[in-house]
Amino acid sequence: MKLRISSDARQPPAQKAQNTRAELTRRDLLRSGAAVASLTLAPGVTLMAFGGSQAQAAADADKRWGLLIDVNKCSADCDDCVSACSTENGWKGHGHPETDAQWIRKVTLKNKATGRESSMPVMCQHCEAPPCVDVCPTGASFKRPDGIVLVDKHICIGCRYCMMACPFKARSFVHEPVVDQKSHAPRGQGTVEACTLCIHRVDAGGVPACVEACADAGHQAILFGDLRDPESAISRALLEYPTLALRPDLDLNPGVRYANLG
């Protein structure tokens, strides 16, 4: 049974879909067995394959996930989104911010002309045309069909060219040995990492940890949803209020947008 499961896992998604149509019952049976087998026999191996084909297969090409951050609702003295991300994904500081992982951080933007200050979180902006994906020599940086930009830890060689290319300083290089990793967020010393938009939650129908934490804190400053669905709350809000993307001059069409920033 184990052998047949792994051959199924190697098939491309299109082939899998065809086969499934032909022998639905048997496939369903095997797949349910696969879930049990992989969870009980080799959870580490399965979950470490976080990037690449498995992550691609989990994505729904009909969706594009995004965030809308209302900076008016974001409190300058609150960083619950940052601590929630850290707890959820198992990254934490070692006391040196310059080399510590920062999947999400709070920044203050001050309008040079008016002096107005805004506090807001910045994370991977999940660009439609991500420069990190363009420059990655091995293809370790990739974009899922649903717009989430990830790093495949198996083929990242740690060259840091993506960090040179990212306009948002959103990526971190793992400078120190990592311990106590979360099985859903594999990390590796010497590789690059960034916000995953909590794909483990999103793929299971949930929302990213930062969104949940912001709501729990009573701010409701971060709205998560499908940018392709005109009926989603995020799409309606984007229609209703003026918003902008960071580095609009680069025309990257990020999945993260900011409202009331000006």
Binding site: V107, Y161, F173
Partner: protein, 400 residues
């Protein structure tokens, strides 16, 4: 024209062994640094999430750029048919390959996961200039090896010329690729400029020739052979010309950026307020590495003419390192502008000038790359007939 030059391996005398052992020690120190950094992580280097490329990249890029320029002698001989350069064409080709190997070694050994080099060699993303460069670098080694073979097997001149022309075009592509690593980074105000490619080509002409002059002199001295003043004068005049070209492209680079208001902040930083980076730019890169060697070569002086090309070469190399340092470190130290018209601040150094203090392992890795390159060229000179026995004026073809 009949070949008059006699090429012989250098002898294994005690001086050669002494230099080889010294270089070997540097290579060993570099490997120890790699093990140390890989064990503890890059936390033991001066690099951070803002300065992601540090001193190893400065050494690697200098060596890779110089590799392309070390081919100058061979190109002038084979492509442009200048007879006086023919005796140095073999050494020129070998040095080009050696410098590239040294530079690539540093680049690979500084990766977060150097053990995954096979992944880099087998998994490509063709929208990445880095991936193209892997082909350009390995291709350069193959093309120059073929070029060296046709020279050493004394093939008809037309074949040498064809191989030399391919190598010449390839080196232009190679340095275009290296410059474009920076030139195509649209996000950073320090880069994002098409002039990076021609600037790097000019840098390669200059740095590579300077390294060539020093290595040739060292090998001739170690093997007790002599070089005539006329060849040295030719090479040094060429060096002054190339050093001038680097200054020219540097001036255009900064004048263009100064014209755009959005780049004004970065230019103010590098040209005026960047502390040691500003000093490295003006004093080391422009004055010591550019104006002074040009003056040394072009302003006639009485006596000491034999030492001037060597001194000028040392200065050009010094200025070259400063230039690559200012490009690589200065470009990253200047903060990213997240939103035009806004100032940014955070606990993560947003909006602040990044600081970088290179650590000893980084320096040793970089020096190890130089040692690898020099060991490789020395070894080649020991086992291959690439070095003429005599380059005194009377023995160099085409001298008048």
């Amino acid at each position: 024209m009949p070949e008059r030059t006699i090429y012989r391996e250098i002898p294994a005398n005690s001086a050669v062994w002494g230099v080889a052992i010294l270089l070997g020690a540097f290579v060993a120190a570099a490997l120890a640094s790699v093990v140390y950094v890989e064990h503890h992580g890059h936390i033991v280097t001066g690099m951070s999430n803002q300065i992601v490329w540090g001193l190893p990249h400065v050494f690697a890029i200098f060596l890779i750029v110089a590799a392309s320029g070390a081919l100058n002698g061979a190109s002038i001989a084979s492509v442009f048919g200048h007879a006086p350069y023919k005796p140095i064409a073999r050494l020129s080709a070998v040095l080009a390959m050696s410098l590239l190997i040294g530079g690539l070694a540093v680049l690979v050994l500084d990766l977060g996961r150097p053990d995954r080099i096979l992944v880099a060699m087998t998994t490509y993303n063709f929208t990445s200039i880095f991936a193209w460069n892997i082909y350009l670098y390995t291709g350069f080694l193959i093309v120059v090896a073929v070029y060296l073979y046709v020279q050493m097997s004394r093939q008809p001149y037309i074949r040498v010329r064809i191989a030399g022309t391919v190598a010449f075009l390839w080196r232009l592509a190679l340095t275009t690729g290296t410059g474009s690593i920076f030139g195509w980074l649209a996000a950073r105000p320090a880069y994002d400029a098409a002039i990076m490619a021609p600037l790097f080509i000019a840098m390669s002409f200059s740095f590579g020739l300077a390294v060539f002059i020093l290595v040739m002199n060292a090998l001739f001295r170690l093997s007790g052979r002599r070089i005539g003043n006329m060849l040295m004068r030719r090479l040094s005049h060429l060096l002054a010309l190339f050093a001038g070209a680097v200054l020219y492209f540097t001036a255009v680079q900064h004048l263009t950026a100064l014209y755009a208001t959005e780049h004004g902040g970065f230019e103010r930083f590098i040209l005026l307020q960047g502390g040691h980076l500003t000093w490295a730019f003006w004093l080391v890169q422009v004055v010591l590495g550019g104006l002074l060697p040009i003056a040394l070569i072009y302003i006639p002086r009485v006596g000491a003419s034999r030492r001037e090309p060597v001194i000028a070469s040392v200065l050009v190399i010094l200025g070259g390192f400063a230039q690559v340092y200012v490009i690589v470190i200065g470009g990253q130290a200047y903060p990213l502008q997240m939103l035009p018209g806004f100032e940014i601040a955070s606990a993560f150094g947003d909006g602040a000038i990044g600081s970088y203090s290179p650590s000893l392992p980084e320096l040793m890795l970089g020096l190890g790359g130089i040692a690898i390159a020099l060991l490789a060229v020395g070894f080649a000179a020991k086992v291959l007939r690439i070095l003429p026995t005599n380059l005194l004026d009377a023995n160099v073809p085409g001298n008048r």
